[in-house]
């Protein structure tokens, strides 16, 4: 085989690892007495975490570790949400250790994201920056390197978000290779965003939360090759798909046919063993992949390596005027912002920001942030509910209405907690330890 035929052919793998905190069956009659500890269904979250750990995280990480050792040239990247890391600490130190083992190979890159897997990029710049910073700190502490590349929740991306990432100091940012933005161009090129100036107030907020000391001159955009990514993530076990059954050899040959600088294969890590069960042969497929890539002359690179090897190559412009994502066929935000339930839930949770931050109560702050996890809003999606599709598959609740019932109770309770805590605080301030009230930071809304 001709490993020399086209040495620049390259693949960039990135796997998303995330688990939300699902809500308890909360009751209106308990509101006011529930408190942050009671919002989340620890039993269910534990059970789901262990189930996915046994089916996916542990076997997939074990396999990856072998592959990385057997193929020193093999490279992959992960993004672990902060709430996933929190759950590892609660329910699965073994899982976290297995990721550390992967990190120790030096062949794995860990990306940055919002700690709470939130949609804060759309609602509160200050909150967004705080979450990204907390996540970067955590990743550095766990795995040694401060992340250089940013991926926003659900690959939500826009010119503004790219500009914020640039100012925060990220070298690269991930996005969906959506047809409506590429307009016939290849997703295999590295792109850049149009030059853009954020309002001074926004720049000041960003400056306070820098991830890296210096902003990047041009942040490169890595676009997901959705067709090839989805061949693995969604179609792999579909018997009615003409590509079934998919072998590594065939798949790599498709990658090889692909023109361009890099083929970016982005997917949920749960693809391996959870969305595609072990009996579909997904692990055998994965096991054969590095060898097959090498045999067909394709190298693998991490996102940072991909950016570094692009050198001074000029990047064409990708103009994402409106935010979009990697979800559904629409690739828009309607999976989280498509109906009155979602808008009400988002509005209600972000409305508490000033109060939460003024409370100075870390437990309330953490809970408020866990309620920002995008999954809560995804479970409220009704657009395909009647057809019983992927939204239903991924929801732990019986219906979007049931999801809203629980969510609205949690927010109501949190609101009461905050009111109480501010009353307490006022009492304290009027008492003998009169404190100087620090006015809460103004947060600029991006929209």
């Amino acid at each position: 085989m001709s490993s020399k035929r086209n040495p620049s052919k390259a693949v960039c793998f990135y796997f998303q690892v995330h688990q939300p905190y699902r809500l308890n069956d909360l009751r209106i009659t308990d509101i006011g007495d529930i408190g942050p500890a009671g919002y989340f269904d620890a039993t269910k979250n534990h059970a789901i975490f262990r189930k996915v750990a046994e089916k996916c995280y542990l076997p997939a990480n074990a396999l990856m570790l072998t592959l990385l050792k057997d193929h020193p040239e093999f490279r992959i990247a992960y993004s672990l949400s902060g709430v996933f890391i929190d759950q590892c600490r609660e329910y699965g130190q073994d899982v976290l250790d297995s990721f550390k083992a992967l990190a120790a190979t030096g062949q794995v890159e860990f990306l940055a994201e919002t700690y709470y897997h939130s949609l804060s990029s759309l609602f509160s710049l200050g909150e967004f920056c705080e979450q990204v910073k907390r996540h970067a700190d955590t990743i550095e502490e766990l795995f040694g390197d401060r992340p250089m590349v940013f991926r926003n929740t659900e690959l939500v991306f826009s010119n503004e978000i790219a500009e914020i990432a640039r100012l925060l100091g990220f070298k690269g940012i991930l996005a969906e290779g959506a047809d409506h933005l590429l307009k016939g161009r290849e997703a295999t090129t590295l792109y850049r965003s149009p030059t853009f100036t954020l309002p001074a107030a926004s720049r000041r907020i960003i400056a306070r939360h820098k991830i890296h000391p210096r902003s990047t001159a041009t942040t490169k955009i890595l676009l997901k090759h959705y067709r090839l990514s989805d061949d693995i993530a969604f179609r792999f076990s579909n018997r009615t798909w003409p590509g079934y059954p998919l072998t590594s050899e065939t798949f790599v040959s498709w990658v090889r046919e692909n023109r361009g600088f890099t083929t970016n294969l982005f997917m949920d890590y749960e693809t391996f063993g959870e969305h595609q069960w072990a009996d579909t042969g997904i692990f055998q497929f994965l096991a054969a992949l590095p060898g097959e890539l090498k045999r067909q002359g394709i190298i693998t690179r991490t996102p940072s390596e991909t950016i570094a090897s692009s050198g001074r190559r000029s990047s064409p412009m990708l103009d994402a005027h409106l935010p979009y994502s990697w979800a559904d066929t629409e690739r828009d935000l309607s999976a989280w912002r498509g109906n009155p339930l979602q808008e009400a839930a988002l509005k209600n949770i972000y409305a508490l920001e000033t109060q939460v931050k003024a409370s100075g109560n870390p437990a309330l702050l953490d809970t408020w942030r866990r309620l920002q996890t995008s999954d809560h809003f995804y479970y409220l999606c009704t657009k395909y509910w009647n057809d019983g599709d992927v939204h239903r598959y991924f929801s732990p609740y019986e219906s979007p209405y049931e999801a809203y019932r629980r969510y609205s109770h949690a927010v109501e309770d949190l609101r009461l907690m905050l009111e109480r805590s501010s009353v307490e605080k006022l009492k304290m301030e009027n008492g003998k330890w009169k404190m100087k009230v620090r006015s809460s930071r103004p947060t600029t809304n991006l929209r």
Partner: protein, 400 residues
Amino acid sequence: MFGWEYPPVHCGGLGVACQGIVRGLKHHGAAVTLVLPHDSASEDGVSILSTASLGVEGLIAVQTRLHPYDSAETFAARIADQQHADPLSPELYGRDLGEAVERFTASAVDLTKNVPADIVHSHDWMTIGAGVRAARALGKPLVAHVHATELDRTEFHPNAWIFAQELKGLQAADHVLAVSGYTKNLLTREYGIPEDKITVLHNGAFAAPHIDHHVERHDKRHPLVLFLGRLTVQKGVSYFLRAARKIADHRSDVRFVVAGEGYLLPQLIAQSCDMGLADKIIFAGRVTNAEARKLYQKADCFVMPSVSEPFGLVALEAITHGAPVVMSRQSGAAEVIQNSLVVDFWDTDKMADCILTVLREEPLRRAMHSQTPRVLKNLTWERQAGKIMAAYRDVIRINN
């Protein structure tokens, strides 16, 4: 087709469903001969249906005293009641339920022996015997349509004779149409009917002249929670009262309406007084279609707490008129009305919680209502009758 009640003479979902099916089948070009008992029409003192007004090819009336929702006990009670008022002597048609069914069955067969049918379709246990005999006499296949079973009506304490009638008929039928997956499960589990002999056919909705536009229905002073249905054990009204008590403990402004009549009425009134709900609950009694519509429109939440509900057309009517629905998981409607909150009928804590959430959350009401057109679009009688036609064709093909 052996039917039972037929609008405007009906007191439950069966008449509405039967009309929908007949109209839907006509839409698909089927010629329908409908055999109805005369009694249900005359009993309520409403004018008797005529062939012309129905628009079906032939309407043949058989006189019986049978009542669609009868169990043996209520039949006996009703016959006893009517001995004074009814000019027809009970002796003439038989005091005993078995005798009444037998009479309907025998007359029905006799009346249809010259009908050039390709298929015989019966509705529920009251007409299944007639269906079996007619099908046999005509040498045509029988499709038995199950809208409710004896187990649903009796909280799983069936009258042995009725259960036997159902079982015999369902076994003899060439194919069974079940009004929901819930009913199909029950037929396989409790009656041993093979799964592949049953097709699930959810009820349709009559296209409302218009789906009510969202209006802020909230009476600022007194939100209204509605129950509408027959006051029988099957409908789970007492669970509604328990939920009402819990709601009243939490919010004193909420008012409840229990609309419908039934043998439990006196008991329920007493129960609600004992529970201290006398000033919160209105028992509206029997309501006309127009009154029902008004109630749906005024309600801030509609509740269907049925213990065992093969379908539950009231839930469909409620969403059509813009009322958010909280309903029992033990119902067929929960399979198709996705824009509802679903609870186990016995879980009155959660039922109360769902109702309170609906009352508190305007976005929830709005979101639920906004999905109604999508739900109704999939549930037209034309569409459902198309599925019946397909089932007919299969049965006829297999029988040839």
